[in-house]
Symmetry: C2
Subunit: 119 residues, 2 copies
DNA sequence: AAGAAAGGCAACCATATAGTTGCCTTATCA
DNA sequence: TGATAAGGCAACTATATGGTTGCCTTTCTT
């Protein structure tokens, strides 16, 4: 049993990181992290970019599943998709902790007397 | 006190995500997550890319502080920088949890009058 | 010492990406 | 109902990016 994810999983995780890997988009995500839904004009103010530019970034975030949009009346409101961010955080935590786990397995191997490894 | 990070912090966080936002690089990071140092040829095998291509990706990861390299003899070994990944995981967790905090405040507001909705 | 193994450096190419401008549609409001 | 506000759609440009090939240097091995 490999500890690696399959290619598709890696690819979709990478897609999320790629979407987060732009200062403008990350700033948008931070703005949306207040939990409220914001319109495009709201999100455009103070970003130093045209509305269409912001729209493109929001589309990228939506395609990656980081935000969701809903049109009401003449405006489109964007809100954050918490689960996606949580999953990505968990992914990074897992990868960074693998070293610890390796150490842990090594230790239990060395301590080979009794207690079976958990999981 | 704003819950937003300053521009530099956002930019450097974005740089890390950008570096992770490529399937090849993420695969390299996963490989390095065994905690051992690997040479470039080792990392190249099975990636489906030329050595120089892999070198470029490793340089990108190193520039983002995700891996570190050390030349010994005729080979260069790359290892993971756990702290960077931990920080990024914590960052995402913070951003995604801000919503909870908001909800928490809202709920305690609602609780003063009536039974909170179940969403 | 000679060949092989590991890798650095640079040039080059194709495509993706970030950003713009221009224009059209649909709501809202006075 | 006419102006204005919000935004979708498309074309276009410049630069960044991912990947390659070619070649040179350094280190190891026999």
């Amino acid at each position: 049993m490999s500890h690696h994810l399959n290619n598709d999983a890696v690819a979709s995780a990478a897609a999320v990181f790629a979407a987060l890997g732009d200062p403008t988009r990350l700033a948008l995500v931070e703005r949306l992290s207040d939990g409220r839904a914001h319109s495009i004009v709201q999100l455009t103010s103070g970003i130093g970019l045209t509305r269409q530019g912001v729209t493109k970034h929001l589309s990228a975030l939506e395609a990656a599943g980081i935000v969701a949009s809903k049109r009401t009346g003449r405006e489109t409101h964007f809100s954050i998709e918490r689960q996606t961010l949580e999953n990505s955080a968990a992914y990074l935590a897992r990868v960074s902790r693998q070293w610890d786990e390796t150490l842990g397995r090594l230790e239990s191997l060395l301590a080979k007397t009794e207690t079976p490894p958990k999981t």
